[in-house]
């Protein structure tokens, strides 16, 4: 029996580096007696940065491996960088909660790294099985991390809710995968599926592909918290530790959008095949409805929330509605694909940065920052820096000019206008206007209300912060502002990296 060794490829490097870092953390925990959250976080950061460096330095755009199963196309490659940067930010803002609440630090950061690994695979994989498995990796990571607080019933409950719904959506994904596999006549490669979608061998295989796509979309709708598959989001965000909620809100959604673009790309109308475009219309219609529902329901529900994390949860539902506009435009193919992809990337970058800021401040405040919005009263006096960071993040989430959020929305909506989705854009702008109310309410509380008299004594001191947490907040805030003022730098960075 002869064994042929697989050739070592640089395309593996980020994956290997991430899992290596996670392995070192887990193994290290066995040998280090005391819990060392800072050490594990630094190791995790090292892994993330090394993976990022490997992507930037060693993997050229459009590198591919495994018979096109793994492709670093421009979109996915930049997406990986955004995700890794987001992973760094979340690792940084995890430091305070993990340290203060004495969470099992090594396991926490190892699982975070592995979940990020799942995200990376999700955004570079062009093979359904790997996509499915990486979705599962993210899910497993998230529901363990959501329930990581010992003795916290809210955390356990969040974990269970997310678990049940993630497993439910996995069921859809599996059947969808099976049908896509059947439609491509026995292949899980997206390339083959695209071939089958455009030149179906039989009407039957086209039917399989359509059924498969519908099921896969249903499965992804859970991950992207699309209405009406969004109901778990607020509960899970509220119950999970704040950095985990940030991971779920930001990174898994970003990777989900990237993967969705990849998965749906076979359906993209490239030639004006009549049959083709007729079939695509169903899907674009479905996406239209998802986007519109997301914007309306997300913003409406966020208005009435009293708890900060629930508000942020519904706001992310609205944001996934905005993102879906981009997916829809991409799918229709009337605008050049690369431009839409760039717009989505810009939006995702802004989204990662501003949400990392908002969740980071909430995490920094600890229990006081994770509860009611009223608890933010008087924050500007206690800790002006945190209040400023929160303000900038929220302004950016609203889409006020001179922030990254504005740039993201502008580029995205511009593409939508190009593709004649005026109605959706109007809806989205209206939604953003409404969102100003609930975002700015927090700002109002921070700057214009005094904290309740009984809490002013002990909590009037400025919030102490770990160095790493500070770095994370400073970086995300500064980048939000910087990219808002100089949007060209962001485009430039996306191009050269």
């Amino acid at each position: 029996m002869t064994v042929s060794w697989p050739t070592i490829e640089w395309t593996w490097a980020p994956l290997v580096l991430l899992s290596l870092a996670a392995g070192v953390i887990i193994a290290g925990d066995l040998f280090v007696r005391a819990t060392r959250p800072a050490l594990w976080m630094q190791l995790g950061l090292l892994g993330l940065l090394a993976a990022g460096a490997a992507v930037v330095l060693q993997i050229p755009p459009n590198a591919s491996a495994f018979n096109q199963a793994v492709q670093y196309d421009g979109f996915g490659r930049s997406g990986v960088l955004v995700l890794l940067a987001g992973g760094c930010l979340i690792a940084l803002i995890s430091q305070r909660p993990v340290g203060r609440e004495e969470l099992p630090a090594a396991e926490y950061f190892a699982l975070l790294l592995l979940a990020v690994l799942g995200l990376v695979v999700l955004s570079i994989s062009f093979e359904l099985m790997a996509i499915f498995l990486s979705v599962e990796m993210v899910s497993v990571g998230v529901y363990v991390l959501a329930g990581v607080r010992r003795g916290d019933t809210r955390g356990s409950e969040a974990a269970m809710k997310y678990f049940v719904l993630a497993a439910f959506s996995a069921g859809f994904l599996v059947l969808g995968l099976a049908f896509l596999y059947g439609g491509a006549e026995g292949s899980t490669l997206l390339g083959r599926i695209a071939l089958a979608a455009h030149r179906p061998a039989t009407p039957f295989s086209l039917g399989c592909i359509l059924a498969g796509y519908a099921l896969t979309l249903a499965g992804f709708a859970f991950k992207l918290t699309l209405v009406p598959f969004h109901l778990y989001a607020a509960d899970v965000f509220d119950g999970a530790p704040t950095p985990v909620a940030a991971f779920l809100a930001v990174l898994s959604k970003a990777a989900g959008v990237i993967a969705l673009i990849h998965i749906l790309s076979p359906l993209r109308v490239v030639d004006n095949d009549a049959l083709q475009s007729a079939l695509m219309q169903d899907f674009t219609g479905l996406l239209w409805i998802f986007a519109a529902l997301g914007i309306v329901v997300g913003n409406a529900a966020a208005l009435v929330q009293r708890r900060i994390k629930r508000m942020l949860a519904y706001s992310t539902i609205a944001h996934s509605g905005y993102l879906l506009i981009g997916v829809l435009v991409f799918l229709e193919g009337s605008v050049r694909g690369a431009e839409v992809e760039t717009a989505i990337l810009v939006y995702l970058t802004a989204y990662v940065l501003m949400n990392a800021g908002a969740f980071g401040v909430a995490a920094a405040l600890g229990p006081a920052g994770e509860g009611e919005i009223e608890d933010y009263a008087g924050l500007a006096r206690r800790s002006p820096a945190l209040a400023l960071a929160m303000t900038i993040a929220l302004l950016s989430l609203t889409g006020i000019p001179a922030t990254a959020g504005f740039v993201g929305k502008l580029t995205l909506f511009a593409r939508a206008v190009e593709a004649d989705h005026i109605a959706l854009v109007v809806l989205a702008v209206l939604g953003s206007a409404v969102s100003a109310y609930y975002y700015l309410r927090v700002v109002v509380y921070m700057y214009m209300r005094d904290s309740a008299p009984e809490t002013s004594g002990a909590e009037a001191d400025p919030v102490p912060l770990e160095f790493g947490h500070k770095i994370g907040l400073i970086f995300s805030t500064a980048a939000t502002v910087f990219f808002g003022i100089f949007p060209q730098t962001l485009l430039f960075l996306l191009k050269i990296l």
């Binding site: 994956l15 190892a110 790997a130 363990v144 329930g147 039989t202 086209l206 009406p228």
Partner: protein, 170 residues
């Protein structure tokens, strides 16, 4: 020809068994019996795998699902005081407003459509069939599907860490 009709009879039997036991799993209140029904469903699906000449999948189905996963289920059910776990029927989402009802309708309609699509476009045709050797399967797993294969190891690692982390008392 006689052998073939025997196969049809087997298939019909197994499929009926699978559907009935699946229905029991979906609607029964008694969790222990539901696990048993699930075992029956898995075994009959394994039988169907055998009928369509995929013995490896069939055996793995029995080994992994019936032999390991469902034993775990049974274990947990017994650990959690099984007689209390038998509860009255009420929908999970009953008090969750109309959205999930809409989702249910969406799902149901979707299945209807899918079945319709598939059945209208499918035409019965003869096709070549070969039973694959295990070595062939394995070599595909380690070449074309190497990435997912490696991912499963990481996934299992995560599951182990996670299960220990969640279930252990201080």
């Amino acid at each position: 020809m006689r052998l073939l009709s025997l196969q049809y009879a087997f298939y019909a039997f197994l499929a009926t068994l699978a559907i009935l036991s699946a229905a029991y799993v979906a609607f029964s209140r008694k969790t222990v019996y539901a696990v048993l029904a699930l075992v029956v469903a898995m075994l009959s699906l394994a039988g169907i795998f055998l009928l369509i000449q995929s013995p490896f999948a069939a055996l793995i189905q029995v080994f992994v699902y019936a032999g390991a996963i469902l034993v775990l289920f049974l274990y947990v059910i017994m650990l959690l005081n099984p007689r209390q776990a038998d509860v009255t029927i009420r929908s999970v989402f009953e008090n969750r407003g109309p959205f999930l009802a809409a989702a249910g309708v969406f799902v149901a309609g979707f299945f209807f459509l899918t079945a319709k699509w598939l059945l209208t476009v499918y035409t019965v045709e003869r096709f070549q069939f070969e039973e694959f050797s295990l070595i062939e399967v394995a070599s595909r797993l380690l070449t074309d599907y190497l990435l997912p294969f490696e991912l499963t190891s990481i996934l299992l690692l995560m599951a182990i860490i996670g299960a220990v982390l969640i279930a252990k008392r201080n």
